[in-house]
Symmetry: C2
Subunit: 209 residues, 2 copies
DNA sequence: GAGTCAATCCCATGAACATGGGGGTGCCTA
DNA sequence: TAGGCACCCCCATGTTCATGGGATTGACTC
């Protein structure tokens, strides 16, 4: 028997889901709250469901802020976002806050049920649109590739800088003179509008090159 | 009608899936290959399925390397990994290579079919275990937080370094003397066993602090 | 075949950094 | 209450870096 809770300010939705889940043979949903504050006040180590369905657009504390606290206090409770939002920011903020699933509000009841069961089996329920966006996060981004104004050689030099090498060591690694390294770095600085290797390393590691 | 292709060296699996998919009213699976090389030789702009199911452990060119090429040449063809591997490296390498879905080899035929349909609707089919690992990627990692040997002030200084500031500017930002900045940086270098700000920036941005 | 451009080298100067020493003041904890 | 630790400041030395000027070569374009 999986114990489920729901934090959702729309009473109709909340009670509807509670009623549906309580009707399932393997689920119970005794925990229903209209706000994150109410939920946090009620939960204790010995009084916490296995799974929490959380709306993002709550009055008072937001679902995302709430999840950070919940994740900290009750790491064994799986958090599932239940929201109308499907934009990147909301999705990634939720995942970074500790959500283990993300279902859109148009998800049919039976799929919510399946999602909860999937959680128990080590899965992560996501609406299709959400899954696609999460996957897209890893996709190579060609667009940024071409805007790099650096030549191949200059990029090699940047790698050396990122590795923390001195000009001398970069020269040795690339089998060129230290003067050539100097020359390239001058041009790198010009192209990137920076004035020191620290900024080059930052830009590089942040993917701005 | 969705056109599907499969690249899989195990003939039994390949023909089995082809037969099943061809039996579906809304799918066709005319493209079957035993290796990535064979597939790449056959595909043309006018001769490419909508969806490609790809095994990772192929003889010759690996599925991951192949996907990189496919993604480049045929960006409109959705790639779905079909593999026994469920380790982080394989998963993320696949996604970075351009996979839009990832199904484990124990996936029943009907779920493969549903996955393909989901793709067409903008979804990203993933086996539950895979979805969980992808989601976990975003989860906050507390464990590394405490091992940082740097004091609070030192961390502030590191932020300044990462921002590419000179000692003077860091001093101004923190309202302390440049000599104090020097002092802290000396200690930072000692603690991190490095000998220059470049290495500090690298370590910091790589999450090693 | 003149022009552009990346890449290779050289020199010089001032600024910034790395590293080694000194001093202090507080706060906490044994 | 002494020792440890984080924080604050100062000095001196040598190294590395940033930036400006040059010059040459080969490849590719027009």
């Amino acid at each position: 028997m999986i114990s489920v809770g729901i934090i959702e300010d729309d009473e109709q939705i909340r009670t509807g889901i509670q009623a549906y889940l309580n009707n399932q043979i393997n689920l119970s949903c005794e925990y229903g709250y209209h706000s994150m504050e109410a939920a946090l006040a009620d939960f204790k180590d010995w009084n916490i469901p296995n799974v929490l369905i959380i709306d993002l657009g709550l009055p008072g504390m937001s679902g995302i802020d709430g999840m950070k606290i919940l994740r900290e206090r009750f790491p064994d409770c799986d958090l599932v976002v239940f929201s109308v939002f499907n934009d990147y920011k909301k999705i990634f903020d939720s995942l970074c806050a500790g959500a283990t699933g993300y279902l859109l509000k148009n998800t049919p009841f039976d799929e919510i049920k399946e999602g909860i069961e999937s959680l128990a089996k080590g899965g992560s329920p996501m609406s299709p649109q959400i899954a696609r966006k999460v996957i897209d996060f890893f996709k190579p981004q060609h667009k940024l590739k071409k805007i790099s104004p650096l030549s191949d050689k200059e990029k090699e030099i940047v790698v050396g800088l990122v590795d923390g090498l001195s000009y001398k060591l970069i020269a040795d690694r690339l089998s060129i003179s230290i003067e050539t390294v100097r020359f390239h770095i001058k041009n790198i600085y010009r192209k990137l509008h920076v004035h020191g290797k620290a900024e080059v390393i930052s830009k590089s590691l942040r993917g701005e090159i």
